[in-house]
């Protein structure tokens, strides 16, 4: 488990991370969402032991990470711009990381490299940007570390490759103690992979929730009321986050369990009502609007 307690980090006059407290549970995909400059990379670099927080602490499984090889051995960090040695090939990098991480699975690396159609012997410098990201992910997966930090690694990957990479992570999560932490500035990039999402804005955490919890507790109902229905009375019974009306069609985003909300609607004289599934984007719009932010302006590309 990664425990982040009241950490702050400033670069000169820029307050990049502002008193963040966060817990990242094991065996879940943790997504960190935020605009450029929200502090995602800074947070991840502190979690990787690259930066020292000005105050507060980052604990990986209860231990401080900065300058602690035994802790860093549990982490593989893929920065937004991954570094490869000049003139190195994929095999060179494999050899290098195999010397650093005890659990590095060389056979798996070779297999994955082949699956991703990456040539092991040509220079990485001649790879495309996407291929370099794939190679980083393969190295990260093959390193067999407990935590894999991906800083905007999925941004810009084509859908097929993204899906393949996500499958890899899902597979590893099933088979071993593996916790990927993925940052992105685009919510849609993380939608189908994250279990838990933290939303960063201006160095602080706007919210951090399990997606399933959010989904379970947020319902989107579309309905058409019959004439004469006491709308005020109905709405008083609901914990409404968003209410949209188009003609006679009402769309409510409300807080509460599906059963409870549907029970309320069943007791109202409607022409029809149905419960729709919420996208991650809608969940975030709902949640952040409550606290006064327009998420569309922040992270939805």
């Amino acid at each position: 488990m990664i425990t982040i307690s009241n950490i702050n980090k400033s670069f000169g006059e820029i307050h990049a991370v502002d008193n963040i407290t966060l817990t990242i549970e094991e065996k879940q995909v943790f997504g960190l969402i935020g605009t450029n400059g929200a502090g995602k990379s800074t947070l991840l670099r502190m979690m990787a032991g690259v930066l020292i927080p000005d105050s507060g602490e980052v604990l990986i499984d209860g231990e401080k990470v900065y300058d602690a090889p035994s802790v860093k051995e549990k982490i593989f960090f893929i920065p937004d711009e991954a570094y490869f040695f000049p003139n190195a090939t994929a095999l060179d990098m494999k050899k290098y990381y195999a010397g650093l991480y005890r659990g590095f699975d060389q056979q798996r690396f070779d297999k994955l490299l082949s699956n991703f159609n990456l040539s092991p012997n040509i220079k990485i410098a001649s790879y495309s940007k996407g291929m370099k990201k794939q190679l980083s992910i393969i190295l990260g997966i093959a390193a067999n570390t407990k935590y894999l930090y991906c800083d905007e690694t999925f941004d810009g990957l084509d859908p097929v490759m993204r899906q393949a990479a996500k499958s890899l992570m899902a597979n590893d999560m099933e088979n071993r103690d593996f916790t990927p932490i993925i940052t992105s500035h685009n919510l849609r990039e993380l939608e189908d992979i994250c279990d838990h999402v933290g939303l960063l804005h201006k160095g602080g955490v706007l919210l951090s929730r399990d997606i399933e919890d959010m989904k379970l507790n947020l319902q989107k109902i579309q309905c058409v009321f019959r004439e004469g229905v006491d709308l005020k009375g109905v709405e008083d019974k609901l914990d409404i986050l968003i209410h949209d009306v188009r003609g006679s069609l009402h769309t409510y985003t409300v807080r509460g369990s599906r059963e409870a909300v549907e029970a309320i609607f069943r007791g109202i004289d409607t022409i029809f009502f149905e419960t729709l599934s919420l996208t991650l984007e809608e969940i975030f719009i709902s949640e952040t609007e409550v606290v006064g932010y327009d998420i569309r302006k922040l992270i939805i590309g």
Binding site: V50, E73, F77, Y83, L100, R102
Partner: protein, 746 residues
């Protein structure tokens, strides 16, 4: 670069990791390997093959071997420019090794990996050293194998190579460690290079500026006593100093002998230890900086504000000092102009520094108080020098703190000076080493007087220069100042420090004060190179030598075997007679020259030593007489055909700017009658350039007495007969008939 994991059982911190790191620096490794191959084995082959092709068959085998040994020594020893390559390699290696700190991409890469920062620093640091050590050692080894195969091998060559190897390694270590420090405290490549160059040269630059300021403002500053390049924090200059001591003398007098190598190693120990200490300190500071350096510093020009301030302050103050000195000269001492120049310099340097640090032109006046501090310190230093706030000019050490002193001429003394082992030293070096005056109070009395006069004279000279800056009379006015002796006094302090001051001693200086110090064996023995060890060594090893007695006209030649006997007689005379008053008042009768020549069978230097003989030196005169070298003061009249006296009225003629200069023809008169010849020979003296304590007015250079020696006069050793010699009258003692004949005014 590869770093192992200390907790991993798959990875060790040993050689494999170092090899892996080296493999990540392939281009650098390639440069090392190429340098080592070209510098040692390839040049060895080229030189030795060249020797064989050029000299084989022409020289006997022994001589050819000797040339080959010498040439091989120039490859593996001090006599080459390998230190330049080593300096460059150390600089590049340090920058390249730690340049990853300048990019966020590489910082993220390395700093997120499971390795202790201390281990990362150590491995990177050591990798640079190993790269140098391994390739250089391999180069040396190959060179020796090749040389051995070509028949060139001596134990002393190995010793020489080892000494050079250690010296070059220490040079590498020093440059490398300081550059690592410069790299680690910087945030960008260009700043890393600039800060490293600053660290490597700052002390030498500051010393240079102190030297310039001292020479400009301090009348009693003795420039030769201040070694500008003796910068402790500059390994480059430390190496040059050591190499100069070891190398340039090494091949002169004691070629390829183990004993001399050992002796020279002893000479190198102190600077080597100093270099090692500097390297250790630089490494420790680099590690502290590395440890405290934050990853986010990548891309920022300077990581630590303190370094930024130090660089700006030192550069600013140094530039202000230079400006101050230059403006002072240009403005002829106008204080307002000097101040203005310094303030402008402080402004420009601080502004440029801020622009460089911030990479932003708008930042130029970001810290105005820095400009103020730099300007104030710059002005303070220049004022401090100008008004001698430290009391430098009047400083006389406490007697109890002085071990011994030396006093010698600023322009050196006549003749040559030698170490007991025969190594030639210049006069300053010799007296600094061998003149050990223990009458500290006596020397300090002279120094007190001499320093005061020196300061006054310089002030007068400066005032005259300013007053007559557009006036050609200035030179004349200054030349009319009374004659003085320029001396250096050196105090060997008990603390080990040496203190130097320049003195000006006018002719009116109390003779008793000068006699007190000069009538002492501690003064006159070194003055005449009277060192028994040296004399004995010369007598033992010399192949051929001559002892000559020269009066200006006559030169009597004797065997060099007389040298020891001569020195004994001369020593007795020195003991009995020598003092300032004698040297000042007495007219020398001639000079004895001793010149042993080793050049016939070896490459030992040829000595040349001179001894002024005064008529009061009875023992010397008797010794010369007994051995047929002393023929009286001058030539017998019958051996002179005639004497021509030339009078040049222009020699001492004043030259005033407001008066047209009129050149007067040189007048001459030939005297052939015995009476005049006798009178002239009695009044004329020869000009011994090596004389000490003689006044500038001792001889009158406006009158040249040219003696035409008769052709029947005995031939010299080359068979030449006759010829001429030139003599001079003493000042104000030109014979009346000459004055009359040549119309010489009183």
């Amino acid at each position: 670069m590869t770093f192992g994991n200390s907790s991993s059982d798959k990875i060790s911190l040993g050689s494999m990791n170092q090899w892996a790191i080296a493999m990540r620096r392939k281009w650098l490794l390639a440069i090392y390997i190429l340098s080592a191959i070209i510098w040692y084995p390839v040049i060895t082959v080229v030189k030795l093959t060249g020797d064989i092709n050029r000299l084989g068959g022409l020289y006997p085998d022994v001589s050819l071997k000797s040339v080959m040994v010498h040439d091989f020594s120039s490859v593996i020893g001090f006599d080459n420019l390998s230190f330049l390559a080593v300096t460059l390699l150390a600089f590049i290696t340090a920058i390249q090794g730690f340049a990853y700190l300048y990019r966020r991409q590489t910082v993220d890469f390395y700093e997120s990996q499971p390795i202790k920062r201390s281990a990362m620093f150590a491995k990177l640091y050591i990798n640079g050293l190993l790269m140098y050590l391994c390739t250089a050692a391999a180069g040396y080894l190959l060179a020796f194998i090749i040389a051995r195969a070509m028949g060139v091998f001596r134990l002393a060559l190995i010793a020489e190579a080892l000494v050079e190897f250690v010296e070059l390694f220490l040079l590498f270590l020093g440059i490398y460690s300081i550059t690592v420090l410069g790299t680690v405290v910087s945030g960008t490549l260009i700043m890393g290079i600039m800060v490293s160059i600053f660290l490597l040269s700052a002390e030498a630059v500051v010393r240079g500026l102190v030297y310039i300021c001292s020479q400009t403002y301090l009348a009693t500053f003795y420039a030769a006593g201040f070694n500008v390049w003796n910068a402790v924090t500059s390994p480059f200059f430390t190496y040059i100093g050591t190499a100069e001591r070891l190398g340039f003398r090494y091949t002169d007098d004691s070629v390829y002998k183990i004993g001399s190598v050992i002796k020279h190693i002893q000479e190198a120990v102190a600077p080597d230890i100093r270099l090692l200490v500097i390297a250790v300190i630089a490494t420790a500071l680099a590690w502290i900086a590395y440890k405290n350096r934050k990853a986010e510093s990548a891309g920022h020009s300077i990581v630590f504000p303190l370094v930024e301030w130090v660089v700006k302050f030192v550069c600013g103050v140094a530039a202000c000092m230079l400006t101050g000195v230059m403006m002072d000269g240009v403005s002829q001492g106008a204080v307002a102009i000097v101040f203005l120049g310094i303030i402008l310099t402080a402004l420009i340097i601080c502004a440029v520094a801020e622009i460089v640090f911030e990479s932003d032109f708008r930042a130029m006046f970001r810290k105005p108080w820095h400009i103020a501090v730099v300007a104030v310190v710059g002005i303070g230093i220049i004022l401090g020098y100008r008004f001698d706030v430290t009391g430098y000019e009047t400083y006389i050490p406490e007697v109890s703190k002085v071990e011994s002193c030396a006093m010698f001429n600023t322009y050196g003394m006549g003749g040559n000076f030698y170490e007991p082992d025969g190594t030639m030293l210049d006069a300053g070096e010799y007296f600094e080493k061998y003149m050990q005056l223990t009458d500290i109070e006596g020397v300090e009395d002279i120094a007190r007087h001499g320093q005061q006069i020196k300061v006054e004279k310089d002030r007068t000279y400066r005032d005259l220069s300013i007053a007559h800056r557009n006036d050609e009379t200035s030179e004349q006015s200054m030349s009319e100042m009374e004659y003085c002796w320029e001396k250096v006094v050196m105090y060997r302090m008990k603390s080990g420090k040496k203190v130097y001051r320049l003195l000006t001693l006018p002719e009116y200086t109390d003779p008793a004060m000068l006699d007190r110090v000069t009538k002492n064996a501690e003064y006159f023995m070194p003055l005449y190179n009277m060192n028994d060890d040296f004399i004995n060594k010369v007598m033992e090893t010399v192949d051929y030598s001559e002892l000559l007695f020269n009066t200006g006209c006559i030169q009597q030649e004797g065997s060099g075997e007389l040298y020891k006997g001569f020195t004994e007689a001369f020593k007795e005379d020195l003991e009995e007679n020598y003092c300032f008053s004698l040297a000042y008042n007495s007219d020398p009768v001639g000079t004895v020259f001793y010149s042993p020549d080793y050049s016939v069978t070896s490459d030992q230097p040829t000595y040349y030593i001179s001894y002024t003989v005064f008529p009061e030196y009875k023992n010397t005169v008797k010794f010369l007489e007994d051995n047929g070298l002393y023929t009286g003061k001058m030539l017998p009249e019958e051996d002179i055909d005639n004497i021509t006296v030339y009078y040049d009225p222009n020699v001492y003629k004043p030259h005033y700017a407001d008066q047209a200069y009129e050149y007067e023809e040189v007048r001459e008169k030939e005297y052939a009658d015995p009476e005049h010849i006798k009178a002239l020979m009695s009044a004329a003296h020869y000009d011994g350039e090596e004389w000490d304590w003689k006044s500038n007015n001792y001889l009158d250079y406006s009158c040249e007495v040219v003696v035409n020696i008769a052709s029947h006069y005995k031939p010299d050793r080359y068979g030449n007969r006759g010829g001429t010699c030139t003599l001079f009258f003493r000042y104000d003692k030109v014979p009346d008939f000459v004055k009359k004949d040549l119309r010489i005014a009183e």
